[in-house]
């Protein structure tokens, strides 16, 4: 998610920069129109009027620079030092950290765990698409179900971690519920190394389905209603309507969701961190980065890992855009 924020950030700055030129002109025109001040005015007044629009921009751009680009620049700097996170002096050691990231097999092996979350994102999107389609037609209690489906996304990730921790406990909620159906010997959902990542990925699906659902629902509802009516007149059933109208109509949103899913599964963090702390083979790249920085006091190497992750996500997104270009949707 953060990476997509970075993606869009330059566009925001461009937009912000182009606005003041126009508003500045309007400002001058206003003052001339009201005649409150003589045209030209004092030198100070003119300076102030010219500066005003820039001051408006300064707030937004300033925040962006201080809280996004300045830390990012620091991260790049730390990644070429041997800083331990505490010492007042930082020694520049060149690209040794990057060499370490790519040569130490322990660091890259954890990407295998991301595959679980990547696979889960397909389940997640299928579920979201299914519910979005059903609920976009007139369904009984549609608004209630919309609320129920979106609700998990509103809950704080830490709370979700704890809720599912209790759910997965031996003899916990899940085991009790399974017991009602006669399943008396359930596995250890988190303790069994073959199941732990599936359990965690399922938690992630539960949490993020709501987001995909809302995106899909919004896109589906923006499809003009007449098209459905025309399709119904032609005798298309719901399934055919889905394939011929809905899916092509929301292709862009599906594409966007895939980008989010891939970058998300590469940088999974809170759910495994809170529920298992990365133990039992559930560690992800971000958890490894955190332990490198704070358990092994190696902020330099951890910064390099963060930069590498950013670059990987950027490359994957770029490849995705190349392979599946953003085609214009045309339903007519």
């Amino acid at each position: 998610m953060t990476d997509t924020a970075l993606d869009t950030a330059p566009a925001d700055t461009r937009a912000a920069v182009t606005v003041p030129a126009g508003s500045g002109r309007r400002f001058r025109g206003d003052s001339r129109g009201t005649g409150a001040r003589p045209v030209g005015g004092s030198a100070r007044g003119r300076l102030r009027r010219q500066l005003t629009p820039w001051l408006f921009v300064a707030g937004a751009v300033g925040l962006l620079l201080v809280f996004t680009y300045w830390p990012a620049a620091n991260l790049l700097y730390y990644s070429i030092t041997d800083w331990d996170g505490l010492d007042l002096t930082k020694n520049v050691i060149g690209f040794d950290n990057y060499v370490e990231v790519f040569t130490n097999p322990r660091i890259f092996s954890v990407f295998g765990v991301s595959l679980y979350y990547f696979a889960a994102s397909f389940v997640q999107m299928a579920l979201a698409l299914y519910f979005a389609t059903i609920l976009s037609f007139s369904t009984r209690f549609a608004n209630f179900f919309k609320g129920v489906l979106f609700f998990p996304y509103l809950i704080n990730g830490v709370a979700i971690g704890f809720v599912f921790l209790y759910l997965f406990q031996p003899g916990g909620t899940l085991d009790t519920a399974l017991g009602w159906f006669g399943l008396s010997d359930p596995p250890h959902w988190l303790g069994d190394p073959d199941i732990v990542n599936t359990s965690l990925a399922a938690t992630s699906v539960w949490r993020y389905t709501g987001l995909n659902f809302v995106l899909f629902l919004g896109a589906i509802q923006s499809i003009p209603h007449e098209i459905y009516e025309a399709a119904e007149l032609d005798g298309a059933n719901r399934w055919q309507q889905f394939w011929a109208i809905i899916l092509p109509g929301i292709r862009r949103v599906v594409g966007l969701s895939f980008i989010l899913a891939i970058s998300g599964s590469l940088s999974v963090f809170e759910i495994p961190f809170i529920m298992t702390g990365g133990a039992n083979g559930s560690s992800t790249f971000v958890i490894e980065t955190i332990s490198t920085a704070f358990n092994f006091r190696n902020v330099g190497l951890a910064s390099a890992m963060a930069v590498v992750l950013l670059v990987i996500v950027l490359i994957v997104t770029w490849i995705q855009r190349k392979v599946f270009p953003d085609e214009k949707v045309d339903l007519t």
Binding site: L88, H188, L190, G191, P193, T276, G281, T292, F296, R297
Partner: protein
């Protein structure tokens, strides 16, 4: 015109950044030394949020102000103390009296006010060895703990364990009895919370009665070999897990709940420092059990029948280099350690050498356990052990490699004890070769 405005704006932004970056510093007052006049405002930054919230510290402050009326003491409790303090140390505003977070001895002078020559403190205080660098003392322990194993005496009695175990075989036999004869979990690892797993590491030296065990380990290319302290410590955990004497699903353990469970006899034993005794006794009282059920024993090992246990300092208190009332901060530290009665109420060993051991360690002395302190690392090698640990990514003070070990022991990861200890030796040896050279 427009470009000029942009240039001005840019200049403004840069100036703003520069200003915000160097608001630090401030005038250095020559009279602001630890020997100066005891007055001013001090902020005590502490990890004991419980004592800040229940007003215990405010009571201390009142007592303190009776002696030093010109000092105003405020407290700031931080829950994630270690992590947050490490970030705050990069600023100049991290309180006046702080619990010193883990750092290399060579870094003390960057953040802390020197308290004086270590030699001058040696007659009065215990636990000086961890926070001295090149003969200068930078911190005093708030109190100290003994290392060993916490257990529930009632559970052990019910199980029919009459003699406390003094070796790994006896330990496993005792736990087996607990498993067979009671409903309690014999040993609780607290695997999920992680840090309790690292507590047993503090016994390094107890097994071989060697106060230099730390530095010897830092220079040993293969420390996970039978006969060393670390082998005995990790082997005890491995064998207990492998024999099925620990909790069923370690991924769902819960530290807060474990306090209640050991107090009420649902857990037999946990490897924790003696600091935990008072917390477990409190949990016993809150849950209708007897505080007398909480027992403490030495690490199950012996040399010719004698057991040894390490005692060491808890968090050390130090004075911020940037404090504006260093004398008041120093007065507070000395008063808290010597006169406040803090260690007595907390059940800790007092830092003052002449004060007696706390009552909760009476079981220790009755069983003839001999107590000793570690020696400071030799000059130039103060950080060697942690450097090797960081470089080999074997987190001696953390849980990561021990969690892996528990996973192997319970059959949830590939390998066995021999192969994992061999892997640890290989990684450790490579770093020793690189750093200890």
């Amino acid at each position: 015109m427009a470009t000029k405005a942009v240039a001005r704006l840019a200049l403004l932004a840069v100036a703003g950044l520069a200003l915000s970056g160097c608001s630090a510093g401030g005038a250095e007052d020559a009279s602001n030394t630890i020997d100066g006049e005891v007055k001013g405002d001090i902020t005590v930054v502490t990890w004991r949020t419980d004592l800040v919230e229940d007003g215990t510290f405010d009571e201390y402050a009142k007592e303190f102000q009776k002696l030093y009326p010109d000092v105003n003491v405020t407290f700031e409790g931080i829950t994630d103390y270690e992590g947050e303090m490490k970030t705050r140390l990069s600023s100049t505003n991290y309180g006046d009296v702080i619990g010193i977070p883990t750092m290399q001895p060579s870094q003390f002078e960057q953040f802390l006010e020197p308290l004086g020559e270590t030699a001058d403190f040696e007659d009065t205080y215990r636990f000086l060895t961890t926070h001295t660098y090149e003969g200068t003392q930078y911190g005093l322990a708030i109190g100290g703990n003994a290392q060993g194993v916490l257990y529930n005496t009632r559970v052990f009695e019910e199980a029919g364990v009459t003699e406390l175990p003094t070796s790994e075989e006896e330990w496993l036999a005792a736990l087996q009895k607990v498993k067979d004869n009671t409903d309690a979990i014999p040993l609780y690892t607290n695997y999920k919370d992680g840090w309790p797993l690292s507590q047993s590491f503090s016994n390094l030296g107890s097994i071989t009665n060697n106060p230099d065990a730390g530095i010897e380990m830092a220079e040993d290319p293969a420390p996970w070999t039978e006969g060393t302290d670390i082998y005995a410590i990790d082997s005890l955990l491995y064998e207990s897990v492998a024999a099925g004497l620990t909790e069923e699903d370690p991924l769902t353990t819960n530290w807060e709940q474990s306090k209640v469970d050991i107090a009420t006899g649902k857990i037999g034993a946990m490897t924790l420092g003696s600091w935990a005794i008072s917390q477990m006794q409190a949990a016993a009282e809150d849950n209708g059990a007897s505080p007398d059920d909480i027992g403490y024993m030495a690490f199950p090992s012996n040399i010719d029948g004698t057991q040894y246990a390490l005692i060491g300092g808890d968090y050390n208190l130090g004075i911020s280099k940037h404090s504006k009332a260093k004398a008041a901060a120093w007065a507070w530290i000395q008063w808290l350690i010597e006169d406040s009665g803090f260690t007595e109420t907390q059940g800790m060993i007092s830092t003052v050498a002449e004060k007696p051991l706390p009552d909760n360690l009476s079981g220790f002395t009755e069983n003839g356990v001999e107590l000793f302190e570690v020696n400071p690392a030799p000059a130039g090698k103060e950080s060697l052990l942690s450097d090797v640990s960081n470089d080999s990514q074997i987190d001696l003070w953390g849980q990561l490699y021990r969690q892996k070990m528990v996973d192997i022991a319970r059959g949830a990861a590939d390998g066995d004890k021999e192969s994992y200890f061999a892997e640890l030796n290989e990684r450790w040896g490579a770093s020793v070769g690189k750093l200890a050279g």
